[in-house]
């Protein structure tokens, strides 16, 4: 019978859990402290990347300490009511059969937006009055949604285990399965997993099950798992792609959406295409990708997204003809994204001033902020009296005066005249 090795070789005891010794000790100490009465923090929040053993640890602990584990997944506590149903369970330390109880809310990341808002709030209420240990698990504890929740929890971070630790685990499995594995074959798998033990074990099973021997050649062809690669890897695949397919595949690996990926590419192309012809070709490809974005907007036909992707990935990759790929050029965060929030604010005050001008000058607010505001800036810089007169005439607020004057001192002088 087929059984996933991730289940078959799941640690039954804390001793078998790979890595994170300190975090596990912290967790154990906290659970033990319940024996001396209710601790300050009635919940523990375990967080860390996928596949590093968070859930496994809780399960192993329950097993070691002979506790009753009540486990709930994201889908079970979408609403306030659903969470409150556990309130009863949480209000008693022991269960009917005398064993002690531990309540686990797993996959908290799965809570989505507003629909689950009540759920998080209800969870806080449950924790406040809990009579038994409650454990929360998520990849990212610092999601703003968990801000309140966090303050009631003991935070425990689980880190990626080292390659050596993963390797040890894989070796142990091979031994039990009677597989003679080359050390560097297992090392390859361990490295590629980037600390995700679950995926390492899954890979090992896919490659080695039923074999007597596992060699490096058996594993080296291993294709890319559709893991969400970090953005730099994705950018490298696109900006230095040799084939259209390779560049296009990068999109599926990015953990950002297409628009954000576009921004990353758009920001970084100039630094990585130094030859003028290559640069012009790459920017032209981005321009065409943008044309297709415009077509999507106009037609609302999202089918065109494939051409956006073609141009922004393969189009950019194929632009490289002359630029050598030597040396290491760093990647930059899209500056536009940072600037955008600021300029939004600026645009809004510009528009407010524009509206004031519009009332007096028979010109649209949009045009006023472009055509008249620049002159006001000059006047406000040079002539405090005239500025005050105009500010009064236009009925500008002190904030607007400060924005136009572009200097706190000048604005103060003008506002003083205004009284």
């Amino acid at each position: 019978m087929y059984q996933p090795w991730t289940v078959k070789y799941k640690p039954k005891s804390l001793k078998e859990v790979v890595g994170n010794k300190e975090a596990i000790q912290k967790f154990v100490d906290w659970v033990k402290s319940w024996n001396e009465g209710i601790p300050e923090k009635r919940a523990a929040f375990i967080y860390g990347p996928p596949g590093v053993g968070k859930t496994v640890t809780v399960e192993a602990l329950a097993n070691d300490f002979k506790m009753e584990l009540v486990e709930k997944n994201a889908s079970d506590y979408r609403t306030e009511e659903a969470v409150k149903r556990f309130a009863g369970l949480a209000s008693q330390y022991g269960s009917l059969f005398g064993t002690r109880r531990i309540i686990l809310f797993d996959e908290l990341d799965g809570l989505t937006g507003t629909a689950d808002k009540g759920g998080v709030k209800a969870m806080v209420d449950v924790i406040k009055t809990a009579q038994c240990p409650i454990v929360l698990i998520a990849n990212n504890a610092f999601d703003p949604r968990f801000a309140v929740l966090r303050s009631y929890c003991l935070l425990i971070e689980f880190k990626k285990p080292s390659v050596t630790e993963v390797l040890k685990h894989l070796k142990a499995i091979c031994l039990k399965e009677g597989i003679d594995a080359e050390e560097n074959a297992l090392k390859f798998i361990a490295q590629r997993s980037e600390g995700d033990i679950r995926s390492a074990v899954t890979d090992l099973q896919a490659l080695a099950q039923g074999k007597k021997r596992l060699t490096y050649d058996d594993v080296s062809w291993l294709g890319f798992r559709d893991r969400q690669e970090n953005i730099f890897t994705v950018l490298r695949m696109i900006l230095y792609g040799k084939t259209c397919d390779g560049a296009k595949r990068a999109v599926n690996m990015a953990d950002v959406d297409v628009d954000m990926l576009f921004e990353w590419i758009y920001e970084n192309v100039p630094n990585h295409f130094t030859d003028p012809h290559d640069l012009a070709r790459a920017m032209d490809a981005l321009s065409m990708a943008d044309v297709y974005r415009g077509r999507i907007k106009r037609t609302q036909d999202w089918g065109f997204i494939r051409y956006v992707i073609d141009y922004m990935t393969a189009g950019v990759a194929m632009a490289r003809v002359n630029t050598k790929t030597s040396g290491w050029t760093p990647f930059h965060f899209p500056e536009r994204i940072q600037a955008l929030s600021k300029s939004k604010e600026e645009r809004s005050i510009q528009l407010e001033i524009g509206k004031k001008i519009k009332r007096k000058c028979h010109i649209s607010a949009t045009r006023a902020s472009k055509e008249i505001l620049p002159y006001l800036r000059i006047i406000f810089k040079n002539n405090v009296e005239m500025a005050a007169g105009i500010a009064k005439w236009l009925d500008l607020t002190p904030e607007m005066v400060e924005y136009v004057a572009e200097s706190k001192e000048k604005a103060a002088a003008i506002n003083k005249l205004l009284g």
């Binding site: 640069l279 012009a280 300029s343 055509e371 008249i372 002159y375």
Partner: protein
């Protein structure tokens, strides 16, 4: 020196005060006399008196309380179809109770209305002709849909002739006690090209420096008031520094809110002033034209314009190569 916007202070109040656009003014006066106004399109470049003429006409027609009988809408701010459906319709269908049986709706910058809104407007114009007349002000009458054009009396406004322009600015300068030198006046005309609003704003900004207005002052004002230093950006690109050129572009768009269409128009003008081999100018114009078209189709002005900058970098690189060979 008075401390309000001079462009407003010196805006003519009545048709008699309007010194320019004489033929147009005469026709408008005849409307006032007959107490009947057709739907009108006032088309022409900025600062030539379109809005002023509409306001003067209204004042002459309705008297001092003219504001009660007119509504001014700016299509650049309120360009959608909803505005036509709600605001315009509500205003248009209510009969006025004065001597003049209709009200006037002034639609400024009407060429910025969406096509949908224009279609809706066309029906509104037709239905409420009895109770409301429309004056559409636009830079380009070509952007107004045919059916509306055919319902309106067209008026073409042109830039002020040089003498009128000078007379007007001298009058303001004298009245405000500002010393405006001849070379300063020349410079204003050169910089503003007959756009009276811009000319008066430039004059006032120059006056705020509290010294005689010479050419140097005017140029410095114009330079600072026009953040879209497109020429500088082109020069940076032609020198091969794409990243800096894109930075300047970004600043124009994000900080100063300059429209992409304005930038590309200026690039097009500047290209023919560049010190490059003549055949290249037309090559560059072709590139500009292509991007101009994509600007209409695309979603992001900065992306399109920076693609254009990259082409300029490339073209300049090729030019350098070809001169070396020669």
């Amino acid at each position: 020196m008075s401390f309000e916007m001079w462009a407003e202070k010196y805006r003519p109040k009545t048709l008699d005060e309007m010194v320019n656009q004489k033929e147009i003014v005469e026709r408008l006066k005849s409307f006032v006399k007959a107490k009947n106004v057709p739907h009108c399109i006032f088309a022409g470049p900025p600062g030539t008196g379109k809005t002023t003429a509409a306001l003067c006409l209204a004042r002459d027609l309705y008297g001092e309380n003219y504001r009660e009988y007119i509504m001014e809408l700016n299509a650049s701010d309120e360009r959608g179809i909803d505005v036509v459906r709600e605001t315009v319709k509500t205003f248009a269908r209510v009969r006025s109770i004065g001597e003049v049986p209709f009200k006037i709706m002034i639609l400024d910058e009407a060429d910025n209305m969406t096509a949908d809104a224009q279609q809706a407007l066309r029906r509104t114009m037709e239905r409420y002709t009895e109770t409301c007349r429309f004056i559409l002000c636009a830079n380009y009458s070509g952007k107004i849909i045919e059916p509306i054009q055919s319902r309106c009396a067209p008026f073409r406004f042109t830039y002020l002739p040089r003498e009128e322009h000078d007379k007007y600015l001298r009058y303001i300068a004298e009245n405000e006690g500002v010393s405006l030198l001849d070379e300063g006046l020349d410079a204003i005309y050169e910089v503003c090209g007959g756009d009276l609003r811009r000319a008066i704003n430039t004059l006032q900004a120059a006056a705020s420096l509290s010294k005689p207005i010479d050419a140097k002052v005017v140029y410095s004002i114009a330079g600072r008031a026009n953040p879209a230093d497109v020429r500088k950006m082109i020069d940076v690109a032609m020198k091969g520094n794409f990243i800096e050129a894109r930075k300047q572009l970004r600043e124009m768009i994000q900080k100063y809110g300059v429209a992409g269409s304005d930038i590309i128009r200026q690039i097009h003008t500047e290209i023919f002033k560049l010190d490059i081999p003549e055949p290249w100018k037309i090559k560059l114009a072709d590139i500009v034209g292509e991007i101009d078209y994509r600007l209409v189709e695309g979603a992001d002005e900065e992306v399109q314009l920076s693609a254009l900058l990259a082409k300029l970098v490339e073209a300049a690189y090729e030019m350098r190569g070809s001169t070396k060979k020669v």
